[in-house]
Subunit: 214 residues, 2 copies
């Protein structure tokens, strides 16, 4: 665990949520929103929103509130969503296939270029026109196609080896669905989706009868 | 957003992670671990670990550390993992099918009893022996089978209506994969898995060259 910037991960985690709500407002034709209205919509205090956005220079105007399209574009740029990312999936099992399908219908600039597996029965199959390729050739593929993100949908036991290989080949980000925490070099970003952790949190709240819609 | 207990959501979110590491230690035959060793393994400070566990009464012993199996069992019980949960999935598309497959191989006490969809071409199909049923009959099914958890794998636009119906039918928890925040009654717990938010956080860190393995 390592922090190179002064902006906390909690703030970063809230940015996509701000962006989602701003997109909905845009769809509804809303041009501007006061910080109080935005607060009651998104469920954070107005002061929290101001604090979060001040990390990046503000964007609100006293007595006016926020310009919806402007703030949406600013947050998109902060998140790096004004670029295109080339991704590969490792592991063509159920989860890998679901992620391939999920990202296929995804409108933003995240493109799955290939899927890799070691299972000969899966190699050669096509999932939404994306071929399942032999894991043997992954380093060459990442280098030649300048892949940015590796999506790890393997078992827990293979995940670290796959991460090592992807980092060696030159990806700058890993999206990890394997239920294990991975070691990566400092220059590689990693985001974990631990589904079982999420299910276990749900079980806790069900037994405590507490609702946390965060 | 609402808090009924004094234990923060951040602490709850860390419990499944503690449990995962304790399970790995058990597999390796480790009986006890000092708080410093546990700290360097899991990446939280020893003081953070003590603070987190003190919310539930401690469990460590001065000069001994933690009993691995004991702490694993305690955390499992706190999370409510000593019970069985009956779940249904709404939405038999790619994501719903992936979740059905994922949970099928899941060893713990979370059982998918049925999958529901409105699409006549999907109704009647079987996914791992679990039949896709008509969404029309969902309330009756939840009541009759005492389903605890509804897993929402629908589109963003249908998700709130599905949530309302599931809450009315009597589930006590929702695991939401639709990219939208849902309103639920206070007695129903909800846990969101916003995959696109996670991907956007990853993009941010890639552009900032920061690594956060949390």
């Amino acid at each position: 665990m390592k922090k190179d910037t002064k902006i906390s991960n909690a703030v970063i985690k809230r940015l996509p949520r701000y962006r989602r709500y701003l997109k909905e407002l845009q769809k509804k034709g809303v041009d501007k929103i006061s910080s109080n209205e935005f607060s009651s919509l998104i469920g954070y205090t107005a002061s929290q929103i101001r604090q979060d956005l001040n990390n990046f220079g503000g964007f609100g105007q006293q007595g006016y509130g926020y310009n919806v399209e402007g703030l949406y574009n600013e947050i998109s740029a902060i998140l790096g969503l004004d670029k295109e990312y080339k991704m590969i999936i490792v592991g063509a099992g159920n989860l890998g296939q679901a992620i391939a399908n999920y990202t296929y219908y995804y409108k933003a600039g995240f493109v799955v270029c290939g899927i890799f597996d070691i299972n000969p029965r899966l190699i050669g199959l096509k999932i939404n026109d994306i071929e399942v390729m032999d894991y043997e050739n992954i380093v060459e593929y990442v280098e030649e196609n300048q892949i940015n993100i590796g999506i790890i949908c393997t078992t827990k036991d293979s995940a670290q080896e796959v991460a090592d290989k992807l980092c060696f080949a030159g990806v700058s980000g890993l999206w990890n669905f394997a239920p294990v925490d991975l070691e990566v070099p400092d220059h590689v970003a990693i985001e974990n989706v631990h589904l079982s952790d999420s299910l276990h949190s749900l079980a806790y709240h069900m037994n405590r009868n507490t609702t946390e819609n965060i």
